[in-house]
């Protein structure tokens, strides 16, 4: 039996209502990428300013559902100050958590920290793409690839 409060936890609802690091970036980013979900039309652009290997600032803008927006917002908080390698390693953890590839006990929950509240998403297969959208975008931005799509 699915529980809505597992999916829409208070923290998620709060980030949806008041997304952090939301809006354009000045001075301009060194890296950016768009994430687009053709299924629902959700679209985010993620901006990153790298200082050497370190994420000095990360912001996002666009529109999407509560899950995609909260995930993007929490992502910006988590990645701020990380270097590229740490960001890549966090991406791997969060990806496995959201897709249900690894259960929480097999994940590095210290690394995931607050992002653990997103773990309920894996119980809702059609919503997994919402939660991974911004993460794919930042992954592509840091690899300097084109627009991300979750399809």
């Amino acid at each position: 039996m699915f529980d809505l409060t597992e999916l829409y936890q208070e923290v998620i609802l709060d980030h949806n209502k008041s997304p952090r690091n939301f809006g354009p970036m000045t001075p301009p980013p060194t890296h950016q990428a768009e994430g687009y979900n053709p299924l629902c039309g959700d679209r985010f652009t993620v901006y990153v300013r790298l200082n050497g290997e370190v994420i000095e600032e990360i912001r996002f803008e666009g529109h999407g559902c509560a899950i995609s927006k909260a995930s993007a917002s929490m992502m910006t908080e988590a990645l701020q100050g990380m270097d590229r390698e740490q960001a890549g390693s966090l991406f791997a953890e969060i990806h496995d958590m959201l897709t249900g590839k690894r259960q929480l006990d097999a994940l590095d929950t210290d690394k995931l920290d607050k992002l653990v509240v997103l773990s309920g998403v894996c119980e809702f297969p059609v919503r997994v793409k919402c939660a991974t959208l911004a993460w794919h975008a930042v992954h592509n931005a840091l690899k300097a690839q084109g627009p991300a799509t979750t399809e």
Binding site: M1, F2, L4, L7, Y8, L13, N16, L39, C40, G41, D42, R43, H63, G64, C65, A66, I67, F124, V126, R127, C130
Partner: protein, 415 residues
């Protein structure tokens, strides 16, 4: 008991009896009895359709049009009987004007490909409308890319009705075809297709009507409409997926080249050249979806038997849904077309439709959320997506009440 009340009671009893014919509806989803309000995407199937398909595979399975043995003759006869049924259902002049396709999408692609190759060239124009489903947009864009033709689009009012004045101005001597939906899958707008067809015909231009969203909800008479092509899918009218119909006037179909090459569509094949079969087989290459056609035939019987009662029942249900949803403070109904059938799009506060969909799903209610394969329409309305409830023969006011009751839960979470 007074007469109107008795009529209502009788109708309610009949409706219950209809509902019991659909096995999928008798289940719980997330612990709640299923309320299925996604009929514009696909309808559920009654036992008669399911049984007809099973019986075909159990007793008659064979290939059509080439066997001399008994089973092949039975399968062939079954398909041709359905062709006659569909002819009667849409009142075509002859059965040869009824072509089986995989669905409305393939039917439109067939016309875009074949009529397009025959009659559309560089600088010519095709008219569609802002309301169209992607399946009545993209085939024409592909044709325009191939031929150098130009796509013209009938604009809509904010209410979601076609702008017929603008349409009149779009009709020119370069227009080769008008292709519009009978009913909008996103807003439920019923288009004034009789007028659209007459205006085109005054200019000698043929008209294709995409009837996928109309055929389960209203009687269609292709001769009275005088449309040149009419397309629909089996699965939205209680039939199986993977089968649909293209009606076309013989005069046009005869002049059009084949759509696909293969078995059945030929009269004789030599390496020096091939002569094509006559209508309708010229457009039916390869083994058709025989079981699907059989199921479609049963669905036609089912719809024909219920349509007279269905039309007023669905109108009452739509009225009820409009008033029940618009009575809720946070709900905005999208569009206010002059006539609406089948589908009702709405928004709840600023809640993203995807989140609405998940919350009501957990209440056992199936609705559609998203752009409904009508992204240009969404863009025109300044939206990315909507929530949509769409109705079928088995839906009741109790289903609407369940949906309305789920909305406060959406607001409790996201309000």
């Amino acid at each position: 008991m007074n007469a109107p009340a008795r009529i209502r009671t009788t109708a309610a009893v009949e409706l219950l009896a209809i509902r019991e014919q659909f096995p999928t509806l008798a289940q719980t989803v997330h612990g709640k009895p299923l309320v299925y309000l996604d009929n514009a995407a696909t309808s559920q199937k009654p036992w008669c359709v399911i049984n007809a398909i099973a019986a075909y595979y159990e007793h008659d399975n064979s290939n059509v049009h080439r066997g001399v043995h008994a089973l092949s003759q039975r399968a062939t006869a079954a398909c041709e009987t359905v062709r006659d049924k569909v002819r009667d259902f849409v009142n075509a002049a002859e059965s040869a004007e009824i072509l089986f396709t995989s669905g409305a999408t393939e039917a439109i692609n067939l016309v875009a490909s074949s009529y397009g190759a025959h009659a559309v060239g560089s600088g010519d124009e095709i008219i569609i409308s802002t309301l169209e489903h992607h399946s009545n947009i993209v085939p024409w864009q592909l044709l325009c890319e191939r031929s150098g033709a130009v796509l013209r689009v009938i604009p809509i009012s904010d209410a979601g009705d076609l702008d017929l004045d603008a349409y009149r101005d779009l009709l020119t001597e370069r227009t080769r075809l008008v292709a519009v939906g009978h009913v909008s899958n996103a807003l439920g707008t019923v288009n004034p297709i009789r007028e659209i067809i007459d205006l085109a015909h005054n200019n000698g231009i043929p008209v294709l009507i995409d009837g996928a969203q109309a055929i389960p909800h209203m009687p269609v008479d292709v001769q009275a409409l005088d449309c040149d092509f009419y397309t629909f899918s089996g699965h939205k009218m209680y039939g199986p997926t993977g089968v649909g119909v293209l009606y076309g006037k013989r005069r046009l179909l005869d002049a059009m080249p084949p759509y696909q090459g293969g078995g059945d569509m030929i009269s004789s094949v030599r390496f020096e050249g091939t002569t094509y079969n006559e209508l309708p087989y010229k457009f039916e290459a390869g083994t058709p979806n025989i079981a699907g056609i059989v199921g479609l035939g049963t669905a036609v019987d089912f719809v024909q038997a219920h349509l007279p009662k269905l039309v007023p029942l669905e109108a009452t249900l739509m009225e009820y849904a409009e008033s029940a949803l618009s009575a809720i403070d946070d709900v905005t109904i999208v569009g206010a077309p002059q006539r609406r059938v089948g589908a009702l799009s709405f928004l709840i506060g600023n809640v993203h439709p995807h989140d609405i969909g998940t919350v009501v799903d957990l209440q056992g209610i199936a609705i559609r959320v998203g752009h409904h394969c009508a992204q240009p329409l969404m863009e025109r309305l300044g939206l990315v997506s909507t929530a949509r409830a769409s109705f079928g023969i088995y839906n009741t006011t109790a289903d609407i009440d369940r949906l309305a009751a789920a909305i406060p839960e959406v607001m409790r979470i996201f309000g």
